[in-house]
Symmetry: C5
Subunit: 355 residues, 5 copies
C-alpha cells in the first residue's frame, strides 16, 4: 500500500494531546535554518535550539524558520511554548498522516499539505508532509526530509532587491505554497511519460498480464495522488475566505493564483484517470481480440482438415465390397478434392474477413 496507509493508527487509544511523532521516520536528524529578512537586510543561519531565534521575535523583520526532520519533538514543544501554538497543532505537525487542511487561530494560521515528489523510471510517487505556521512576522516550515525543495524560494529571498523582501510573512507563505503546488506539475509530467510509454507498448505488442499490472498500479497511484491533491482546493478556498488579518488583502490575488493552479492539477489528475480507464478498456478488448484471432486460426484449420480426414478415412476402410477402390481415376480425383476444398474454404474465410 502507499506510504500513508501503513500503520496510520500508531497513536489511536493514546491520550490525545501527547506529543509523539506518528508516521514513518524519513530522516533521523533535524536540520534547522532561520532566514530573517527585511527590505534592507537578509540573514541566513543554521541553529540548534529555539532560544537562538527568540531574538527575532520583537523585530519588524520577517523570520522564516525551516525545520527539516520531525524527530526533534522537544524543539516543536519549545516552539509551541514560546510562540503560543495550540497543543493540537503541535500534534498535527508531528503526525505525518494529516489530511491537507487550513486552520485559523487567533494569532497564527496552520496549513498542512503533502508535497508530491515523483521518479520517472519506473514511475513512483513519494509524499512529504509540509506544515506551515504563519504568525505576524514569523513563518515556521516543518518538513519530513532534508532536501532542496525550497532552495528556489530561499534564493529569491536572498537575491530579491525590492518586492519580495518588502512584503510580509503572508507573501512568504504564498511563495512556499506556490512552490509546493507547482511541484505537482513535475509529477504530472512524469505520469504523462509513464502513461505514454504504457500506451505505446499496448499498441505495439501483445498485451501481457504485466501491462495490466502496470495499468492497475498507475490507477492506484492516481487514486492516491487525488486523495492528497483534491483537499488542496478546499484548503485554498478556506484560506481565501478566512478573515484573519494575518493575510493581507493584497496577498489574496496571489492565493487565488495558487488556487487556480491547484484546480488545474486536480483536473489533470482526473483527465489521466479517464485516460487510464480508457487504456484498461483497450487492454481488455485487445485480450478479447487476441482470443478471437486464436479461435479463428483453430477454426480455419479444423474446418479444412476435419472433413478431409473423414474423406480419407472412408477409403481406409477394409470392406471387401468397395468398388471405388478399383477405379483408377478415383485416387487422382481425390487429390483434386484435397486441393479444391481448402481453396474454397480459404476464399470463404477470406470473404468473412477471418484471414
Amino acid at each position: 500500500m502507499t506510504e500513508s496507509l501503513t500503520k496510520p493508527s500508531d497513536k489511536s487509544g493514546m491520550r490525545p494531546g501527547s506529543l509523539v511523532h506518528v508516521g514513518e521516520v524519513l530522516e533521523s536528524e533535524t536540520r534547522m535554518t532561520v532566514i530573517d529578512y527585511s527590505k534592507e537586510s537578509v540573514e541566513q543561519t543554521q541553529f540548534q535550539s529555539i532560544e537562538e531565534i527568540l531574538k527575532y521575535k520583537d523585530c519588524e523583520s520577517v523570520t522564516w524558520v525551516v525545520i527539516e526532520g520531525l524527530t526533534g519533538v522537544d524543539i516543536i514543544e519549545s516552539i509551541g511554548k514560546n510562540f503560543g501554538i495550540h497543543q493540537l497543532v503541535l500534534e498535527d505537525i508531528l503526525n505525518t498522516h494529516q489530511r491537507p487542511k487550513f486552520e485559523e487561530y487567533d494569532d497564527h494560521l496552520y496549513i498542512v499539505l503533502k508535497c508530491l515528489l515523483s521518479e520517472v523510471e519506473p514511475f513512483t510517487v513519494s509524499y512529504e508532509q509540509v506544515s506551515l505556521l504563519v504568525l505576524r512576522s514569523f513563518v515556521f516550515l516543518f518538513k519530513e526530509k532534508t532536501d532542496d525543495l525550497f532552495q528556489p524560494v530561499m534564493k529569491r529571498v536572498n537575491n530579491s532587491k525590492g518586492r519580495f523582501r518588502s512584503l510580509g510573512a503572508d507573501y512568504l507563505a504564498y511563495a512556499i505554497l506556490d512552490t509546493i503546488v507547482d511541484q505537482n506539475f513535475f509529477l504530472i509530467d512524469s505520469m504523462d511519460e509513464a502513461i505514454t510509454t504504457l500506451e505505446d507498448s499496448l499498441i505495439a505488442s501483445e498485451p501481457t498480464q504485466d501491462t495490466l499490472n502496470t495499468i492497475q498500479k498507475l490507477r492506484r497511484d492516481i487514486v492516491s495522488i487525488r486523495r492528497h491533491v483534491s483537499p488542496v482546493r478546499e484548503l485554498m478556498t478556506a484560506m481565501l475566505h478566512c478573515e484573519s488579518e494575518l493575510i493581507d488583502q493584497k496577498t489574496h490575488i496571489y492565493l487565488r493564483d495558487v488556487s487556480d493552479h491547484a484546480i488545474r492539477v486536480i483536473e489533470l489528475v482526473e483527465l489521466y484517470r479517464d485516460i487510464l480507464t480508457g487504456l484498461l478498456d483497450i487492454y481488455l478488448s485487445s485480450v478479447s481480440n487476441k482470443m478471437n484471432e486464436v479461435m479463428k486460426v483453430l477454426t480455419v484449420f479444423a474446418s479444412i482438415f476435419i472433413p478431409l480426414t473423414f474423406l480419407v478415412g472412408i477409403y481406409g476402410m477394409n470392406f471387401e465390397y468397395m468398388p471405388e477402390l478399383k477405379w483408377k481415376w478415383v485416387y487422382p480425383m481425390l487429390w483434386v478434392v484435397f486441393f479444391t476444398v481448402p481453396v474454397v474454404f480459404l476464399i470463404y474465410f477470406k470473404r468473412k474477413k477471418w484471414l
Copy 2:
C-alpha cells in the same frame, strides 16, 4: 447479511414510545460503573441501581456513568426519569439499529454511533453501538458489550493530574468520541492486511472462484463499513455547529480534530473501495488471460496434428492404384515432413507470441 440488517423491524407496528430492547442481544447481563472526578479527587465504583448515583447529581464534579449491556431496560427507564431524558432518546439507546446521529435537547445532548471492531484472520468486522448522553456534569455511556474499549480513557481520568480532570463533561465526551473514531484506524489496518494478502494471492497463483468470493466479501464489508462511518462526518459537523452551552467553545478545537480523523477514515475507506474494484478487474482479466492461454495450447496442438493426421490418412487408403505406395523414398520423406511441419508451425506461433 451483516448484523444490523437482520430483523431491523422487530418494533415496527408497535406503539412508538414503548421501551423495549430492539436488536440482537450481545450481552445478557449489565455491568455498571461510575467514575466521579474533579480536579482534586477520583472515585470509581461498580453500582447496581440508579439511586446509588443520584448523590453525584448536585456535585460540581464530573460523573461518568458507563452502562455495558442493554438488557436492563428498567435502569434506562429510571435514568430517563431521574435526569429528564426525552422518551425517544431512551428508545434510541435501546434500539441497536441506529444510524449515527447527534441530537440536541435543552439540557442534554444525545450522540449515538457505531464502534467498528475487526479481526484479522479471516478479516471480519463487528459492530457495537455506543450511545452517549452528555449533561452539564454527567456523561452516560451505553455499550452493548462488556469489553475494555474505554479502559484507556478511564486510565487517563485516574492518572491525569492536571488538564483532563480540570475540564468538563464535554471534554470527557470528546475523549470518548476520539477513542471510537481512532478505533477505525485499527480496522483499516486489518483491512489493509487482508487486501494485501488477497493481492499477493492474485498475482502469485491462478485465480479461483474463492478469490472472487473473497473480493466480493471485502467489497460488501467496505460497503457496510462506509454506511456506518460516513454519517460520523455529519454527526461531527452537527456537533460543531450546535450552539448548546453544554459544549464549551474551547472543546470545539478538539472536536474539529475528531472530525478531521473521521474524514480521513472515510477517505481511506473510499480508497480501499477503489483498490478492490481494481482487484476485481485484475481477477476478471486474469480469468480471461487464462482462457486465452488454454485456447492457444489447444490451437497449437490442433493446428500441428490435424493436418498431419490428414496426411497419414491419405496413405492409409486402400486404393489399388496408388503409385506412391510403391515408391521407396516416400515414407522417409513423410518423416521429414512430420518433423518439418511442427517446427515451421512452432516458429510461426513463436513469432505470433503464442508460445
Copy 3:
C-alpha cells in the same frame, strides 16, 4: 413494468382541475371510518356520507377520518367543499401516480406518500398510495385498499389512557407516518431473504439464465423502491422546516425520528443495490469460469489424443516399404508410448493447475 408506470397519463390533455380518479382501481367500493377522540372519550363508527361527520367540526376533540378506496369521487369533492381544501389537492388525492410530497396551505397540510407492501415467495412489491390531510382538529386519511394497515394505530387510540389521546392531530399524523415508514423495514426483511436465497443458489449450483433474470428483477424492484422511498427524505425535511402552526413544536422531535428511519431505509436500499451489483459480477464471472473449465476439458482431451491419433495413423499407412511394420518390438513399444504420453501431459496440466 411496475404498477405506477402503466398508463400514468390517463388524464393528460384533460382540463386541469377536473376531479377524476387517475390510476388503477384497486378497490371498487369505499369504506369510511371515523374515530373521534379526546382525553376522556373515544368514538369509532362507520359512516356513509360526509354530513354525518360535520358535527365533529366544532368540537375540541381530534377527529380521524379514514377513507379506504378512491372510487367515491363525490365524497372527496364534498370534503373539499366542507373543509375548504384546495382543488389541486383533491385532484392529487384521486391521482394514484403521485410522487411523495408535502404541501402547506393556510389551514391544512397535505402529505402524500407510498406505502410499500411485500410478499416473500416470490419476492414482490406492491404499492399503495396514502394521502393525509391534516387540519386543526381533523385528520383525513385516504387509502387505495381496505386493509388492516392502520389497525395498530386505531388500537392505540382506543386503548391509550393518557398520552396519545391528549395530543393533537399532528401527533396522530406522526403516528400514521411512523407506521408507513416502518412498514418499509418489513419490505427490506423480505428483500434480504430473497437476496440471501439468490446468493446461496449462486454459490451452490451452476448459474443459469434464470439466476440472471432474478438478479435483474430484484435490481429493477430496488430501482422502483428507491424511487418511492427517497422523496420521503425531502418530504420529512420539508415538514420539519414548515412553520405552520398546525404542527406543534413538541411534535418536531417525533417527526425527526421518522425522518431518521426514512434515511435508514434509503441507506439500506442503497446497500442492497450495491450487493446486487456484486452478485451480478459474481454471476458473470462464474459464467466465465464455467467456460474456462469447459475449455480446459476440451484442451486436455484434444492435446492428449490428437498427437496419439496421428501416431497410430502413421502405421496405418499402406506403404510397401515401411520397415518398422516388420519389427516385433515396435507395437509393444507404441503401447508404452500410449500410456506415457497421457501421463506426461496429465502431470504437465496438473502443474498448470488445469486439472
Copy 4:
C-alpha cells in the same frame, strides 16, 4: 443523430442580433390564430398581419396569439416592435436549437421548451420547440408545426363558463405548460411499450446484433429526451422564484403542480435508463451463455469421439506382429467399449450439468 444536433451552428459567426430562422424548417407556411376572451365573451379568428391584433392591446380581455410555423420572420419582427420585446428574445424564438429556459424581462416573460412527440412502431421521438411570451394581457405562443397540440386548451377556453376565462394570462400560460409537460407521459407510455417488446424478445429468442442496436438506439433516445426534459425542472423553479407581478400569487400553486409533474417525468426517464442498462447486461450475458453452450456441445462431442477414434486407429495399424488382431473376441469387446465410453461420459457430463 437527433434532429437538434445537425447544423446547430448555422448562425455562428454571424452578427448577433440579426433575425433569421435557425434550424430545420418543419413547416413552410405560417398559421396565425388569435383568441381573445374575457369572462363574458370569446372570439377566435385567423389573421394575416399583426395590425389586425393590435386592437386587443388596450382591452382588459386576455388575448392568446398562436403562431404556428416560424418562417414568417417579419411577423415576429413586427410583434417585437409593437409589443416591445427584446431583440435577443426574438432571435431565440426563431432559433429552434434552444435549451429550455425562462427569462424575466420588465414587462414580459419568455419561456421556451421542447414538446416531445412520440410514435410507437417503431419507437421514435420528435421534438417541437414551443416559445411562450407572457405579457400583462397577451400570451404569444410560437410553434414549429401546425398541429392540434393545443386544441384541448382552446376548447377549454371556448367552453369554460366560469373559472378559466376569469383568470389572467398567467393561468393561460400555466394551462399551456401543463399540456406540454403532460405530453411527456404519452411519450413514456410509448417508451414503456418499446422496452417491454424488447424485453420479451430478449427472453424469448436468441439475442442478435439487432437487439443490441435497438437497445443502443433506445439508450440514445433516452439520453436525448433527458437532455430536453431535465432543464424543465430548473425552468419551473426559476418561474416559481421569479417575482414578476405578471405571475399572480394564486397561479404559483398551479405552477408547483406542473413542476411536480416535470420532476416525475425526469424520474421516470432515469428509471427507464436504469432498466435499459439492465437489459444490456442481460443481452451481454446471454451472448456469453450462448457461447458457453456452443463450447459445451463441442467439448462433449470431442471428448467422446477423439479417444475412440484413437482407439480404432490403433487397430488400423499395419504391424505384422499385432496378436490382438487374431483374437476373435477383441472386435466385439471393442463394440462394448464404443458403447460404454460415451455412456460413461454422458453420465459424467450430466452430473456436471453440461447437458
Copy 5:
C-alpha cells in the same frame, strides 16, 4: 497527449512574477492591430509599438487592440505599465496553459479562455488561448496565432452604422466571447460527422482494433474538450455576478445569451460522450458476437465430422474377425449414414439458430 499537457510546468520553481512565455510557441512573430471606433468614425491600423496607441487613451471612443502571437514579451510588459495591469494578469496572458477564468480588478477585467478549432478528416482538435483585457474604453485581445477568427467581428465594427458602434467596450467583449463560444458548434459538427462515420463503419463491417483506437481517440478528445469547455460556464456565471461598473447592466442580457450557448455546448459534449460509451459497448459486444460465430462454425464442423471419422475408423481396423467387412450392403449403408448424419445435425443446428 494533448497539446496542453506536455510541459505544463516549464515555469514551476521559478520566481512567481517573472514575465516569460510559457507553453508551445505557435507563432514566431507578433501582429498587432488597433481598431478605434465611435458612433461616427472607425479607424483600423497595424502598429508596431505601444506608444502608437497611447493617444487613444484619453478619447471617448472604444479602442480594440488585437495582439496575435505571444512572443513579444516586452509589448505585454509595456501594456501592463501603461494601463496599470496587475503583474499576475500579465503572467497569465503569457502562459498558454491557463484554465478558463474571469478575474475582476478595480479598473480592468481579465478573461481567458480557449478557442477550440477542429479539422474534419481525420477529426482533430486544436486549442488556441485567447485573453481579453477589458478596460473602460479599451479592449485588449491576445491570441496565440494570426488567423481570421475575429474577422467577422471586425467587419461588423466597420460596417455597423448604428447599434454596435454606439455601445461600449463591454459590448465588444461580448461580441468576442460570443464568437469564441459559437466556434464550438463548428467543432461539434465535425465531431458529429466523425462519430457518424465511426458508427457506420461499426455497423457495416467487422470491428477491428483500429475501430477501438478511433473510439478511444475520440473519447480522449471529448475528455479534453470538456476540460476546456466546462469552466466557461463558471466563467460566464462569474461575469454575470460581477458588479464591476465596467459591464453595463444592458450587456447582462447578452452575456446571459452567451452563457446559454456555453451550457448547450457542454450538454452536447456530454451527449457525445454517452454516445461514444454506447459505441464502445457495441464494439465490444460485436467482438463477442464474432467470436460466438467463429465458435459455432467450429462446433458445427467438429460435431458432424468427428463422429463420422470415428465410424470410418472402425472399419479401417485390421481384425481378422470382422464379419461386417464381408457383407455387401454395409458399405452402401454407410454412405447413407454419411449423408444422413450431417443432414440431421444441420437441421438440429438450424433449430438452435446456430446457422
